[in-house]
């Protein structure tokens, strides 16, 4: 499918909505949105609210955003290897791990939203990676984890699946064994991406079938 899709990608840009399985939610009040909007219809939230919420510079996006050093060099190497394996199957998505200590009142989802959008984009390379980024934010002190995807990979991901994956690894998270939590998270991510890929394939096949039926109908008429 890879090359096929690449060719399709060059030829055709699909509507994200046609693939999306997870609903959009407001980072502020968490209400579900039916359509993408510049601000939340309920609470008026937009990206500008994060400036006040997080009045400091966002760290650069990297594979490990880990100011407290939860991941050792060895840990990073192991995780790096696992990510490289995943990249052989799915070259586009990038998984980043951020372990921070936040205030209890801080909403981790909003924090992820802020990081993804406020983190600097120094070059074209990062500009290409950022929409394909899957950011796992771990609030170490409060014991919480959240997943924030970029626009490009978002339509192919299932939020419920992420939640299930983190819950499955609760033991590692609770034990602050982040390296194993990360390794298992990568493995789980592979399955979630696989499911997204299958859905995408089916959708595209379906669209092609509809398209060719339409063409045949038009030809006849």
């Amino acid at each position: 499918m890879g090359k096929d899709v690449t060719d399709s990608r060059k030829r055709k840009v699909y509507r994200a909505k046609s693939f999306a399985v997870s609903a959009m939610a407001c980072p502020g009040c968490h209400v579900t949105l039916t359509e993408a909007a510049t601000e939340c219809a309920r609470c008026g939230y937009s990206g500008s609210h994060t400036v006040a919420r997080f009045p400091y510079e966002a760290p650069a996006m990297g594979r490990f955003i880990d100011p407290q050093g939860h991941f050792s060099e060895d840990d990073r190497m192991r995780i790096g290897k696992s990510l490289a394996e995943l990249a052989k199957k799915f070259p586009q998505p990038r998984i980043c791990f951020s372990v921070v200590d936040l205030d209890e009142e801080t909403d981790l989802r909003e924090f992820g939203f802020w990081m993804m959008n406020a983190s600097p984009v120094p070059d074209q390379n990062e500009a290409e990676w950022r929409p394909w980024t899957i950011l796992l934010v771990i609030d170490d002190i409060n014991g919480r984890a959240s997943v924030t995807p970029g626009y490009a990979i978002e339509p192919f991901l299932d939020d419920e699946a992420w939640a299930d994956l983190i819950r499955k690894e609760q033991m590692h998270f609770f034990g602050r064994d982040y390296v194993n939590a990360a390794l298992n998270f990568i493995q789980g991510a592979g399955m979630i991406l696989n499911q997204g890929a299958s859905r995408a394939e089916r959708k595209i096949r379906g669209n092609r079938a509809v398209g060719s039926r339409k063409q045949r109908k038009e030809k006849r008429s």
Binding site: M1, G2, V5, T6, S8, R9, V13, Y14, R15, A16, K17, F19, M24, A25, C26, P27, A36, A37, S46, S48, K88, F90, P91, Q92, P93, E104, L108, R109, E110, G112, F113, M116, N117, V121, P131, T133, I141, N142, G143, R144, A145, S146, V147, T148, P149, G150, Y151, A152, E154, P155, D159, W162, A163, I166, Q170, N194, G196, A197, S198, A200
Partner: protein, 268 residues
């Protein structure tokens, strides 16, 4: 006048007393098996004959009849004998001796059997041949006697004996045939039962096999999908929202236990 009437009555009575012994008009079966209305047999001979017949009936389930007639019947001997046997309730094997008083061609001896015993054809034919042979022997032995009464007596005795022997043979063949049939039925039933069992087994196994094959194929396909290489997701027009350039945020959050203890201190 009275004497004249008596004369005519005495002269005519034998004629009047004679029942017509013809096909389709047989008299009722005699209890002893001996039909001798004019008492041609002596009492002694009758007793011996009846004993032979009774023994044959009791021991070997073989019915023998003796019919003593004053004149030749119209029907053919074979036909009449069968009619007598069947009409007087003979079983599967019977013998009939017919004697016409004063007729040098009699006594005549007949034997017969039910048309089919349900045996294999070869066995049926063999038995019929044995029966005919026995009858020939009976006739031969009986006719060696010089006297008609002795011929009848000997004939009945021999006929009872021969048919008795054949009756034993018949029972043996019946038993063997039933056993063979029973085994055959058992084999047949076992075959039927096996066939039914196989059918039921197939009814279960075939869908099960299809299910297993389906599961295996599904797993192989799943495995193939899991071992994707170099998969590119299609490009989509992003659902930009909240004026955010790179991500609209996510709604996934899972708690796994705070480090902050009740007293506000941090553990770990």
């Amino acid at each position: 006048m009275r004497l004249l009437i008596l004369f005519f009555v005495s002269f005519l009575s034998p004629l009047v007393g004679r029942e017509s012994f013809e096909l389709g008009n047989l008299p009722p079966a005699p209890n002893s098996g001996v039909y001798d209305p004019e008492q041609w047999l002596t009492a002694q001979a009758r007793v011996e004959i009846e004993e032979s017949m009774a023994r044959a009936k009791l021991n070997w389930k073989t019915q023998v009849f003796l019919v003593v007639l004053p004149e030749r019947p119209e029907a053919d001997g074979d036909v009449l004998a069968r009619a007598i046997a069947e009409g007087w309730g003979a079983g599967r094997l019977w013998g009939v001796a017919i004697h016409v008083v004063g007729d040098p061609e009699f006594p005549a001896f007949y034997a017969g059997r039910k048309d089919s015993f349900g045996w294999p054809e070869s066995k049926e034919n063999e038995f019929t041949a044995d029966l005919n042979e026995a009858l020939a022997d009976v006739t031969g032995r009986a006719m060696r006697e010089g006297d008609h009464r002795l011929q009848v007596q000997t004939g009945i005795h021999e006929l009872s004996g021969e048919l008795g022997y054949l009756g034993i043979m018949m029972s043996r063949i019946d038993r063997l045939h039933d056993k063979a049939r029973g085994e055959g039925v058992k084999v047949y039933r076992k075959k039927q039962s096996n066939a039914r069992f196989i059918k039921r087994l197939l009814l279960v196994l075939v869908p099960l096999a299809l299910l297993v094959v389906g599961i295996v194929i599904s797993r192989i396909r799943k495995k193939r999908k899991e071992t994707r290489v170099d998969f590119y997701f299609p490009e989509t027009s992003p659902r930009r929202r909240f004026r955010a350039p790179w991500s609209g945020g996510g709604d996934v959050i899972v708690k796994f236990g705070s480090r902050i203890q009740k007293d506000g201190s941090r553990k770990g």
